[in-house]
Symmetry: C2
Subunit: 760 residues, 2 copies
């Protein structure tokens, strides 16, 4: 196996279990199964099904950690095969990213001296999201004897076991079922009574046929199990397949029992290997679209694939009522909530590689518009106000209280003040439309979001009569060190942009389909009076600037704050808190958590000339603490766009290694999903130098680090697959359809399936 496609764990240490559970999570957009080891009780099992949320007694609505389906125990006589009790003779675990398969192999010696070899692989099918499976190869090394094989589904799982104050059980166990053979467990969430049926069945085949004969079935409270006994012979290998199926009442309207039973029956009929092959074929197809090849830098190659693998695993096109959580389907961190992370950091990857999935993710926002309207109403505004943190309904689910850097309880204001999410979403719709020309989506779904958020902004902005300008006060921008600020540029600028774009869309739809326009005005309660006001707002929106107009002031008064020089950097080149900083008074300094003005300039690059971008980049970079995984990748892109390639590689490596090196210290809580998208952007928008200009043309300004021999990737531009290969002294392009692009600001025409070389 090609090491560049693998993540390897070659030593077992129970203290690292939680981290590896995240790194080795397998997901298919529908379901995420943390990479827990069957043979250790230490760690944090996680079985998440996208869209299954519950509040019960928790602080806020959160993704439900469902019944655990990984339960698979081996007993030699009565001794449990347990990595934390037995002596480990050898151990390896591998994530094969090319095929989406997690495998391990170990040999252990029990306290009574029995040696057994266990090899296993597992996949969560991308061919059929309702299926997952594992295979176990068991070999007694130094004994003949009885081995017990136990298949368990555990309904005692709670959320937040690492946070004892907030530990919550989000479901009741409804039914323990004997599938004869096989077991199933139906749970039902507390609030919405969503039913979740998980079931598994073991198949043991060798040349004698089925060797799993002596079966015992039991119910233990909230656990259900089946147990087999085999009499194993030294050096013989016993192969056991475990096939699993999942159905929830979110998936279908009819009986989940019927759907589940058919699924598992069909799966058993198809067999493990057939489903595995189909799963691998899907991954092959996915990799054709998403892979990034970096020659000459194995770390970068392996690292970028790790990020692409998990980002791709986190979504699928089959459900338009779910989106990607800040921690993917990989852990309970941020409670499974959806942030601007999805639209701003992850979506570009899907737009340019898997537009159907991008559309489904945007449809999630459309399908949660009712919640957004509720938020606006509850806060005294009009239209639709998207929540800073979103779960299944679109209502605000940001916790009101958290813990600050010093461990003190602190009021969290983001849910009250971080309004920019509304423009982040409309910007993402625009970005999607620009790259796909999906007029149907724009007309039927995107437009309504544009108009209803414009209506929200209309109610939210404050008119300053004295200065004849519109202001947005008391907000939080992307830089969350500063709360309750007035006229954050990122917020104001994107609100202005979004309103302006809404007005353009009004003209567009009027021309296209007047009766549709009339209908939507009736639906949203809009008329020409509103559009006039929008026009006024977008013209007079206040954008604070420095006196010379070159440096944009992050918000009103930012320039007056205390400047603190960052002087020390950690071993990863990341800033260390300056000594004189008071962590509970960061708001009084110019230190920022992550790009804010720079973020704006990345999104609306065409509206800021290169010199302005360069000066702002320089100014803000030296004030940035990078206390978000969203930060480094963005700086790498902006740096490259203004000709500063000094830090780009360092930032890029920092980004792709965020989880592999656990450099935020919380990988155990789930993958840094936004960062995985940032990593992709860092390659395509940064090193690939891709941007879209005012004329909606693709621009490429590629640059690659010296140590790279070659960088290549594909993008999907309006169904045209463009392959980009950047070499030391040339850049090659190949498109599936003719297209005009700009390379290093020169216009080039790509002909269908013909390679074009541009000298660097």
């Amino acid at each position: 196996m090609d090491l560049l496609w693998e993540i390897v764990q070659d030593k077992y240490n129970s203290r690292e279990n939680r981290k590896y559970e995240t790194l080795f999570t397998l997901a298919n957009g529908y379901k995420g199964l943390r990479g827990a080891l069957e043979f250790s009780k230490l760690g944090e099992r996680g079985n998440f099904i996208a869209g299954i949320f519950d509040k019960n007694t928790a602080q806020v609505t959160e993704i439900v950690n469902c019944q655990d389906i990984l339960g698979f125990n081996l007993y030699i006589e009565e001794e449990l095969v347990d990595l934390d009790i037995c002596e480990i003779l050898n151990f390896t675990r591998k994530l094969n990213m090319k095929e989406g398969i997690l495998s391990f192999q170990f040999e252990i010696k029990t306290p009574k001296g029995k040696i057994i070899k266990v090899a296993s692989e597992r996949f969560v099918s991308r061919n059929n999201v309702h299926r997952w499976a594992a295979k176990y190869l068991i070999t007694p090394i130094n004994f003949n004897g009885k081995i017990l094989i136990e298949n368990i589904i555990d309904g005692t799982i709670t959320n937040n076991t690492l946070d004892p104050i907030n530990t919550t059980k989000h479901f009741n166990v409804e039914e323990l079922i004997d599938l004869k053979p096989g077991i199933a467990l139906i749970t039902s969430t507390i609030d919405k009574k969503i039913k979740i049926m998980e079931g598994t069945s073991l198949i043991g085949l060798n040349e004698e046929g089925n060797f799993l004969k002596e079966r015992k079935f039991n119910k233990f409270g909230e656990k259900v199990r089946e147990l087999y006994q085999i009499f194993a012979v030294k050096d013989n290998e016993y192969t056991i397949y475990k096939l699993g199926a999942t159905y929830t009442s979110r998936d279908i309207n009819c009986s989940i029992k019927e759907a589940f039973e058919k699924e598992l029956k069909d799966f058993i009929y198809d067999g493990y290997e057939k489903e595995k092959d189909a799963h691998i074929k899907i991954w092959e197809k996915i990799w054709t679209n998403i892979d990034i090849k970096i020659k000459g830098d194995d770390l970068a190659q392996q690292g970028i694939r790790f990020n692409l693998f998990h980002l791709s695993s986190s979504a699928y096109e089959g459900d338009d009522k779910i989106s990607i959580a800040a921690k993917g389907l990989h852990g309970e961190g941020y409670k499974g909530h959806v942030f601007w992370d999805t639209e701003t950091f992850m979506l570009p990857f899907f737009i340019y590689t898997s537009p159907e999935t991008a559309k489904a993710l945007l449809m999630y926002r459309y399908n949660t518009l009712e919640g957004a309207r509720k938020n606006a109403m509850l806060n005294g505004f009009k239209g639709a106000q998207f929540p800073w943190e979103s779960a299944d309904e679109g209502v605000e689910v940001t916790p009101k209280w958290g813990i600050d850097y010093l461990g003190n309880p602190v009021r969290i204001w983001t849910g009250d003040e971080e309004f920019h999410i509304n423009s982040d979403i409309t910007f993402a719709i625009w970005e999607y439309y620009r790259a796909t020309n999906d007029e149907d989506f724009l007309k039927n779904y995107g437009l309504e979001i544009f108009l209803d958020t414009a209506k929200f902004w209309q109610s939210r902005v404050e008119y300053n009569k004295l200065k004849d300008r519109y202001e947005i006060n008391n907000v939080i921008g992307p830089d969350e060190f500063h709360e309750h600020v007035n006229n954050n540029v990122y917020t104001n600028y994107l609100a202005k942009w979004s309103i302006k774009k809404s007005l353009e869309l009004v003209e567009w739809i009027k021309n296209k389909d007047m009766s549709f326009f009339n209908n939507i005005c009736i639906k949203l309660g809009l008329n020409n009076e509103d559009f006039k006001i929008w026009q006024d707002i977008q013209e007079k929106m206040y954008i604070p600037k420095s006196k010379d107009g070159r440096i944009i002031e992050q918000f009103e008064g930012y320039f007056d704050l205390k400047y603190i020089k960052i002087t020390e950097y950690d071993e990863n080149g990341m800033p260390v808190w300056p000594k004189d900083v008071e962590l509970d008074k960061l708001g009084e300094t110019q230190l920022i958590k992550q790009p804010d003005v720079i973020m704006l300039m990345l999104m609306l690059r065409e509206e800021f000339d290169e010199d302005v971008r360069r000066e702002n980049y320089k100014y803000y970079e030296e004030r940035t603490m990078h206390k978000s995984s969203l930060s480094p990748s963005m700086y790498s892109i902006m740096g490259l766009s203004v000709g500063d390639s000094n830090n780009a590689y360092r930032y890029f490596i920092k980004a792709i290694m965020t989880d592999l090196n656990d450099n935020q210290g919380n990988t155990e809580l789930g993958i840094h999903a936004a960062n995985t998208g940032g990593a992709w952007q860092s390659v395509v928008f940064g090193f690939g130098g891709l941007s879209v200009d005012k004329d909606q043309r693709l621009n490429f300004n590629p640059w690659i680090p010296k140590q790279w021999n070659e960088l290549s990737f594909n993008i999907n531009w309006r169904k045209n697959i463009i392959k980009v290969t950047i070499k030391e002294d040339e850049v090659l392009f190949e498109a599936s359809e003719p297209v005009e692009i700009l390379v290093y600001n020169k216009c080039c025409k790509l002909e269908k399936d013909k390679v074009l070389s541009v000298k660097r």
Copy 2:
């Protein structure tokens, strides 16, 4: 603390958790709480309530492992204080046998570097069996910060977790209750719906008063918890009391909720220290009756107390429908079943130190007579046939299948064939009556057992016309290596004895209370015809002997079996399987598991003269594998009674160290309760040389090993407390009432409260 009163564990090793859980079990006859450490998840929690049995899907009815009440977690910030995860800086655990208190102290360092000291003590009250409590002293050593304190009751417990095939859950969780503060959990057994209510409450007191203020209550499926947060200051000690109460629907007819709530409320009102003091006072009283003092041999002193402690803890006088299981209230071994172990090995201790408890234990047999009658009926016999293994009803609960020494499934015949239990019980009744003169018991309860088992024997014996004798064929005697044997002497002899004694009792009751006699004859369906047959049976019962009549043949044909010489001994001086032995064909050899003929001669010593006893002792000892913990102590007694003091000390040490050294390898399953009684017998009947002669007089023939300076103990003989002190060259006696005894076969008169010295 006096080391002779303590059992100390000075090193933590998770692999020893299960063993120490047994050694450190605290029990009060009503309830047994395994000595699990709150701060480790490894091991086998055990909370047993005497008399609570259930079958459900298990092989046979078994003692229920009830909901776990020990749950007490500490989190420093969010880090769990767990001995298996943290670095252990120091650790000690102690069982204070004098006071019945288990304590520990440790300092650990969490993965994040926080050091905390925790000291704790725990008791299961002997003052009020419904109460138990723990105290925790918590000191942050190197930090100030938040500590979470979690009190949990866990209703997910199953039986037989170490035996996965037989894992069974014996109760449903009925109710999770918030006591505000405090938590409770009501379960209900599967078969008989016995309700069990367990509840606990935390109290945190320091100079500021109650410091447990921020409370959170949760239900997690089958677990209930309360959580407190405290902000702890470095070097300050925080004292938390945990008070617990237990009630079951076996205990009372009215609402267990009311009884429980009153109990816990009263306990909280009384406070921890008051109950602890009362508990210690009871233990002081108990020790006055039961203590054995051995001067000059610390190992023997500590070891004998360990055995007395656990034996005394296993029973109390307050419930006459329960008895002591083979593993006490200390583990799930032998499924909580009651064997001949109680009557034959443990009861003498209670008869001579705590006659009220002895009576309650015998009443258990009376109260299960209906079950015994069922057994007889089902097996085609008459009268009452006591079960080889007994649970709550007296019906036979011996499993039909088990595992042999080679790990193969094997049919267990003891429940079908080990009939001697019936005479073991009547012998025990006689022994009790002889030592207590409790005529009320003999008349109202004992008599009925004698008569109804005699009726059973009447139907069970086979008359051999040819030889004009009665035989009992196809049986198992105490030596279980030999099954389906004919005319096992132990069985036949004691059956004969029991029938003869029954006839004597018939005469006795006729003289005493003719109408009572008539009534019992009506009740049991007896008349003079039966008594005539009994007379015939007891006269003509076949007792096989060697040709010269000196060596009793264990059963018919035993002498013809293969003699195998035992040549090797392990490090404890115990025999090792001879090399040419086939472990599945032990029945074809003369090797025996444990004393059988010798057992008989110990029980009916007065019927065999010393020479016969000596010859049989010599003959059988060299054929005994001691594959039962019941074996060594009995050989030590018989050896001493025939003047062989060579092995007595070795056997004695072997007996008292059975669990402390885990020399049967299964201490984790519970205490070897019969052996604890055997240890007492070994001292009193062996070294003390106590026997009762045909004239019902106490005989003493004391002998002590050279290394002992002094041995002393008390016995209760018909309410007369006789203190015996054996020194190097004299034996001292002191009695609370005048009595005539024989010392070294010489008659001595003891005057009230006057010390009598007899030269050795």
